[in-house]
């Protein structure tokens, strides 16, 4: 079956730093794919390339097998790819409803909207309320400014935005990083529900128990590229940690072996 979203040989350099160094990626229909890797491994850069926020220097991205070129986040959005960025991408001085619809505001019907470009503020507030309620996110008012929300509530708003508008892929870059146990649980439930809707989810997380709880497959990223894809059913957390730190290596046949001990400097 053709992957929903795939990438081959992505490269992105920032001056002398190579954030992506020939990264491959593959997301199948209906799955939750976890992307794990150390800090600075290039996970965020990878998903930014997949969501149009970063234009790679080389490599190819395909949606349903067709090559695409994203010049900005809007291009990816048009393909139904929605993203929760690591730093959330919310405007703190604007309210929740405005943030939810930012960049895709809805106008009133009739001449007021067509001629005077009047926004349908009431309708957008109502829909924002519905979306947040569905996700069990508890905020008083849709006109509350985002800067008055707790870190967890903000994250919830960002997640809600992606979940509400994603129609092909939902990408989440550490969506539970600022959340407490209960709120994290909600996000995991939400990911489950998105998968039930038939949408595949890409989840970046440092939280191995979360990853093993929810992911169908785990993409291991190290030094700017994918080094392995494993199933949580057949591999242990220790194996995944070993892969992402470089202590273990996956061979071409899919077997996992220890990396040699004779580097001259001893084990690294």
């Amino acid at each position: 079956m053709t992957p929903v979203l795939e990438a081959h040989g992505l490269v992105k350099r920032y001056g002398r730093v190579t954030a992506m160094d020939g990264a491959d990626f593959e997301l199948s229909a209906g799955e939750v794919l976890a992307v794990v890797g150390d800090n600075g491994a290039g996970k965020s850069t990878l998903i930014k390339a997949l969501s149009g926020a970063v234009v790679p220097d080389a490599g190819q991205i395909l949606v349903e097998g067709k090559p695409v070129r994203f010049h900005g986040p809007l291009d990816a959005r048009r393909y139904g790819i929605e993203t929760v960025y690591q730093d959330l991408a919310l405007a703190p001085a604007l309210d929740i409803a405005t943030n939810l619809f930012l960049g895709r505001e809805r106008r009133r019907s009739g001449p007021l909207g067509a001629l005077f470009r009047r926004l349908d503020a009431k309708g957008m507030r109502r829909d924002a309320r519905r979306v947040l309620d569905e996700l069990g996110i508890d905020v008083k008012s849709m006109t509350q400014l985002v800067e008055t929300l707790s870190g967890g509530q903000r994250q919830a708003v960002a997640v809600a935005r992606a979940a509400a508008f994603g129609s092909r892929v939902v990408i989440m870059d550490e969506p539970t990083a600022a959340l407490g146990v209960q709120e994290s649980g909600r996000v995991l439930e939400l990911i489950d529900r998105i998968r039930d809707r038939g949408l595949p989810v890409v989840l970046i997380s440092h939280n191995m128990p979360h990853v093993f709880e929810i992911a169908d497959r785990v993409h291991v990223h190290r030094l700017g590229k994918r080094v392995a894809v494993v199933s949580p059913k057949t591999h242990s957390m220790n194996a995944v940690v070993g892969l992402l730190t470089g202590a273990l290596r996956m061979g071409d046949d899919g077997t996992i072996e220890e990396v040699g001990l004779t580097t001259g400097l001893g084990r690294s």
Partner: protein, 322 residues
């Protein structure tokens, strides 16, 4: 929705509230302490005196909302008055000259916006450069002269009418009011306005949300330029003479009005209502202090202190949120 809002959030959400209270207090204080302040003619004059700076400040507000600043706005308006006056004196139809002057101001705004977005230069530097260039261009164009205008179209905004046979109003006031309503609507009721705030608040978040950041910023400078062109028309309505040396501190005065009006220099927060109030506060302060017999220089001291206080309030109210 009838949710209760905490006082600090109310201030955050309605940044014009502080300035509005200050304005009322100032008016009452001057009204009680001087005999002449509450005089209808005086009040009308106060408003008339704030028209040019107020109109410049409306454009300045848009720019500051995007976390920019425009040091060239008054210089652009002055060049525009010269263009309008000289063209008319040389035989161009006044309405055409007027349109040319206003469009020229918008074009200079487009150049500013182009330099800011295209070359990613800081607005402070771009407009500092343009201030120098435009001022020089005005002087070259004027050749040391000033240009009196007599055409009724050009002076139309200064035409007075009497409301209830008592209150002196000018067409300039109506135009200012109309501009204010238009900008208020655009900023609060349209997607463009939301984008302006978002871009000033956090440009990267705006970009990731799919907003065309550069296009938005460019459009802001063009609309601001239009405001400066209309400010030129207002200026000719007040004083029917285009003078290359006029409004030399207009840029700073407009920033003063914006800041006193509660708009944040850090971008993304503020309102045109605040700016209108801010412009009135400056005019009321000047008029009231004059009538209380206080020296011009002390008036400057008072205005300066108000600016610093306004920025401090802005910092403080946001400091508590994070």
């Amino acid at each position: 929705m009838t949710t209760r809002v905490s006082p600090s959030e109310f201030i955050l959400r309605t940044p014009a509230i502080g300035p509005a209270i200050a304005l009322v207090v100032a008016v009452v204080v001057f009204g009680l302490t001087t005999d002449t302040f509450f005089n209808v003619d005086n009040l009308s004059l106060v408003v008339q005196q704030s028209l040019v700076i107020g109109t410049l400040a409306l454009g300045q507000t848009l720019v500051i909302l995007t976390a920019g600043i425009d040091l060239a706005n008054a210089a652009i308006a002055v060049l525009s008055t010269l263009l309008i006056a000289k063209l008319t004196i040389n035989g161009t139809d006044a309405p055409i000259a007027l349109v040319v002057g206003i469009v020229a101001a918008a074009l200079i705004g487009a150049v500013t916006g182009g330099l800011v977005t295209g070359l990613r230069l800081p607005p402070f530097i771009v407009t500092l450069g343009l201030l120098t260039i435009v001022t020089a261009a005005s002087r070259l164009y004027a050749q040391g002269q000033s240009f009196p205008v007599t055409d009724p179209t050009l002076g139309w905004l200064g035409t007075t009418q009497y409301l209830f046979g008592q209150i002196e109003v000018t067409y300039g006031m109506a135009v200012m009011l109309a501009m204010f309503v238009g900008l208020w609507y655009a900023l609060t009721k349209t997607a463009w306005g939301k984008h302006v705030y978002a871009v000033g608040n956090d440009p990267e978040a705006a970009r990731l949300s799919g907003i065309h950041v550069r296009r938005t910023v460019l459009s802001v400078y063009v609309v601001a330029g239009l405001c400066y062109g209309i400010a030129a028309w207002q200026a000719l309505g007040r004083v029917p003479n285009a003078d290359p040396n006029a409004f030399q501190l207009g840029n700073l005065d407009s920033i003063t009005a914006v800041v006193i009006g509660g708009t944040s220099l850090f971008g993304g927060r503020g309102s045109v209502l605040g700016t209108l109030v801010g412009a009135l506060i400056v005019a009321v302060l000047r008029s009231g202090l004059t009538q209380a017999g206080i020296d011009n220089l002390y008036q400057d001291v008072a205005t300066g202190a108000l600016v610093i206080a306004a920025v401090a309030v802005d910092r403080f109210s946001r400091g508590r949120q994070r």
